[in-house]
């Protein structure tokens, strides 16, 4: 099966979209950019391929075992979670081995055995904890290995160090030295193996529903056997120039975002993308071709990173900012969206007795005001208007945007896709498709 891949190498995350010959999206993948675009691109692509296999499984099951009916989503979720668990355990093993190899040198002298045993115990606990984390309905704060394994490692290691009478620093040190190495190691490409391991559990679930075992196995195995031919790949985003892509395989993220937004919402005429380090206002025509654009220059004030910095300053998670700001009843006026000044501004307002939620509401408004200025310079907002990028997931930012759009441009349809983070990669995949179709 021919496939066309678009990869968007952002400053925070790297996204991949895989589509077929009919420009139907089969899979999406995302990973943290980890300042190593080469690995990030490989991982994101692999994730998109995993997602594609799941899409193919879904198609085959629908055909081979129609009796599953409404339970199809549940089975696919189980298949994916089972796969994720296998993948997590595989990386956990890698992390354990890497950590063990760090136990050497003066600081560990005489404590090698104790540290080794403590580590073994930590990893045993991590392994035991893993299955419930990947059970259907369980909530994880992140899908990235570093985040899941990291936070639990630190908690468990602290307990184990205390029990063994070891300095916590020793266990922290081996972890710090290992995680980057593990994270940057390309993941094992044995995808089918991991899917097949989990298939037995899925088959059992299917049997409970009275579905024939062989048809489920056949459907999944066939999906895994489909040969995916990487026909053309296009890279975009800030990291694009660092990749070993030739010029024909690179497109500007402005064009990719414009086209991606058009593909999601064909009536889009104006696109706003707020990413980690830039804000783009883009005007597109009826074919998704960029007519005009403006973006922040010299200064990344008011971009996604600003919120990340605020979250750090407030000792909160990035995803917690929006919900807290939504509780605000009055917005505090914030003028500066300078990331460096943000901390000072925040402390100043807190010292004046302002409530955290009101300050946050003001910060969100400040970001959107800056974005509005960029959009207006690109030519204003025309119907329909599509908002993309990581900040589009933040409900407080969206609330301010809706208010300001209405105030300045009246009633405009505002599109926000839950998968808007993939907009650039989607556009890139479409460029990959047209490149082969000879229309690029």
């Amino acid at each position: 099966m021919k496939n066309f891949i678009g990869i968007d190498l952002g400053s925070t995350t790297t996204k991949a979209v895989l589509m077929d010959e009919n420009q139907e999206v089969l899979g999406r993948g995302i990973t943290n950019s980890r300042s190593n675009y080469e690995t990030a691109a490989r991982v994101a692509k692999l994730e998109a391929v995993i997602d594609t296999r799941l899409t193919l499984c879904r198609r085959n099951l629908r055909q081979e075992a129609p009796e599953i009916g409404g339970q199809l989503d549940d089975l696919i979720t189980r298949l994916e979670l089972g796969f994720r668990l296998e993948q997590f355990l595989e990386q956990l093993d890698d992390l354990e081995q890497t950590c063990m190899s760090q136990i050497e040198g003066e600081r560990f002298a005489g404590k090698e055995k104790a540290v080794t045993e403590a580590l073994q115990s930590v990893f045993n606990d991590l392994r035991t904890e893993a299955p419930p984390m990947f059970a259907p309905g369980a909530e994880r704060k992140s899908d990235f290995f570093r985040d899941i394994a990291g936070s639990r490692y630190l908690t468990i290691a602290e307990e184990k160090a205390l029990e063994a009478g070891l300095a916590f620093n020793l266990l922290l040190n081996v972890y710090d030295k290992s995680i980057i190495e593990v994270e940057n190691r390309p993941p094992s490409e044995d995808m089918s193996g991991k899917f097949l391991k989990t298939l037995t559990h899925v088959v059992k679930e299917a049997e409970k529903l009275g579905v024939d075992k062989t048809s489920v196995e056949k459907a999944v195995k066939q999906a895994l056997d489909v040969e995916l031919e990487e026909t053309y790949l296009v890279g975009t985003g800030y990291g694009r120039v660092t990749l070993p892509f030739s010029k024909e395989h690179i497109r500007s993220e402005i064009l990719c975002h414009g086209l991606g937004a058009h593909m999601m919402y064909p009536s889009t005429r104006t696109v706003l993308d707020i990413g980690g380090q830039d804000t783009k206002g883009i005007q597109v025509d009826a074919q998704g071709i960029v007519e005009n654009f403006q973006m922040n220059d010299r200064c990344a004030a008011g971009c996604g990173r600003y919120l990340g910095y605020i979250a750090d300053e407030m000792n909160m998670g990035l995803h917690e900012l929006g919900p807290l700001a939504m509780k605000s009843t009055r917005s505090v006026r914030i003028n500066s969206t300078c990331t460096v000044f943000a901390g000072a501004e925040l402390r100043d307002r807190l010292s004046l007795g302002e409530k955290r939620e009101d300050i946050l509401a003001g910060l969100h408004r400040a970001i959107i005001l800056r974005a509005m200025s960029i959009i207006s310079r690109s030519g204003g907002i025309k119907d329909q208007f599509t908002f993309t990028g990581g900040v589009a997931k933040n409900e407080a930012a969206v609330r301010e945007l809706r208010k300001l759009v209405k105030e300045n441009y009246g009633e405009v349809t505002i599109n926000i896709d839950p998968d808007s983070i993939y907009t650039g990669a989607l556009g890139a995949a479409s460029f990959a498709h047209t490149a082969v179709a000879g229309n690029a």
Binding site: I254, L255, Q294, M295, D297, G438, N439
Partner: protein, 442 residues
């Protein structure tokens, strides 16, 4: 790259950038500039009087009538930008109390003066005997010379050029200027120089100017060819050097433009594109019109972003700041003073927004360009005010895509290479996309 010598780390010198390739006209210009700076820095010992003045509305022929040497602070700032010295000068000026948003030409100049006022030849500039302010659309010029007057306490002439607010030169404006020339400018020049004004001498210089101007226009308009034999922005900045600077009206300028014209004629004949610092440019893929000054601190890096992508600038407004010749104006020996007035009134910085739009639209059509690129200069409000409106109007009239980038004249802190490259690449791809499957410019 480091090497260990006797236990100490020594940083090896960075590999120097390859010497830019220069053709004969460029070498000639280099010699002319060197001679000019030598004359300028020897002015005191040679008993020559120095007149500081600006590029837009530069009255070089008139200054020559009084045997004075012309010193152009803007050109000095550009030289310092190209030679990577302006950054330190700008910071020195800020230390002296000039704010971040002030024109960086001014700050580079003030900083240079504070740091010994050294010319590119390594010798100190003489103090000016006269500040000739031919005010042409840039308010900052007036403030700049106010600062210099305070510094040098010398005679200052304020020649007021009425702004072309209504988009045309009226007889009234012309007469107002001629009156100033006769009653204010010439008498003061006579007084400072001790030389009597001779109108026939001025006529001779203006005749020489017109001759060089003809050849310059040929060169600028050669960009209508496909491929264009010149880059009318990056290369154009070299081409305007002599005529915008201290050479208009001289035999040197005539010789320079004759040689340049012959080189360009040869390139047209051979079907060649422009010469870049790395040799002949590859295939011409994009033809652009550029509005706004360039960045000088990363000039070669900036240019490379264009020629690496096959982008050539076929016309630019910046190369008209010291005179708009391609729409027919020539210095006229038969009406010398009136012609100086018309020259000052007509320079690009003195033109209103609709005139600028008309000019850019004309360039896009006449030079068969793919679109308009605006380089908005952070510290130049005179150029930047209204640029976005200009861009939209030109876009609307021509139907060609436009783009906007931002940098600064000579403050290296405002040149963000990654950002500019990102925008330029997006723009070039936008042009591609607009062309559609055939790949032919719309």
């Amino acid at each position: 790259m480091t090497q260990i010598i006797e236990g100490r780390t020594k940083v090896a010198p960075a590999k120097p950038a390859p010497e830019a390739l220069k053709d004969d006209s460029m070498l000639k210009q280099k010699t002319m500039m060197a001679q000019h700076y030598d004359r300028l820095t020897s002015a005191t010992q040679n008993n020559e009087k120095v007149c500081a003045t600006f590029v837009p509305g530069n009255l070089n022929e008139l200054i020559m009538c009084f045997d004075m040497v012309n010193n152009l602070p803007e050109v000095n700032a550009i030289q310092n930008g190209l030679r990577k010295k302006s950054g330190g000068f700008v910071m020195e000026a800020e230390r002296l109390g000039h704010s971040e948003d002030v024109c960086t030409y001014v700050k580079s100049d003030i900083g240079m003066i504070a740091k010994g006022n050294i010319a590119p030849n390594g010798k100190p500039f003489p103090d000016p005997d006269l500040l000739l302010l031919s005010y042409t659309g840039c308010f900052t010029f007036m403030k700049w010379f106010e600062l210099l007057r305070e510094q040098y306490k010398c005679e200052t002439i304020m020649l007021h050029t009425p702004y072309e607010g209504d988009g045309k030169i009226t007889q009234n404006m012309r007469e107002y200027m001629v009156k100033q020339f006769k009653e204010e400018v010439i008498p003061k020049l006579e007084k400072v120089s001790g030389v009597k004004f001779d109108i026939d001498r001025l006529r001779e210089y203006l005749k020489a100017s017109a001759k060089a101007e003809d050849d310059l226009v040929y060169v600028l308009q050669s960009a209508k060819n496909k491929p264009s034999p010149i880059d009318a922005y990056f290369g154009g900045i070299y081409y305007i050097g002599p005529i915008f600077g201290a050479f208009r009206g001289t035999q040197d300028a005539i010789d320079y433009y004759k040689a340049l014209r012959e080189e360009v004629e040869a390139r047209v004949k051979a079907g060649q594109g422009p010469v870049t610092p790395e040799g002949n440019m590859g295939k011409e893929k994009y033809r652009l019109v550029v509005e706004g000054p360039p960045n000088y601190t990363s000039f070669r890096e900036f240019w490379k972003m264009f020629y690496d992508e096959g982008a050539v600038v076929v016309a630019s407004s910046y190369t008209k700041v010291g005179g708009v010749y391609d729409f027919g104006f020539r210095h006229d020996p038969d009406n010398p003073i009136e012609s100086l007035a018309d020259y000052c009134l007509g320079v690009y910085t003195n033109r209103n927004l609709p005139q600028r739009v008309d000019m850019l639209e004309n360039y896009i059509n006449e030079y068969q360009a793919d679109g308009l690129l605006v380089n908005s200069i952070k510290s130049c409000n005179s150029f930047s005010a209204g640029q976005l409106l200009i861009m939209r109007e030109v876009e609307k009239r021509t139907g060609k895509p436009a783009a906007f980038i931002e940098s600064d004249l000579v403050d290296p802190r405002y040149f963000s290479a990654a950002n500019i490259k990102n925008r330029l690449e997006s723009y070039f791809q936008m042009v591609d996309q607009k062309r559609g499957p055939s790949g032919v410019a719309a």
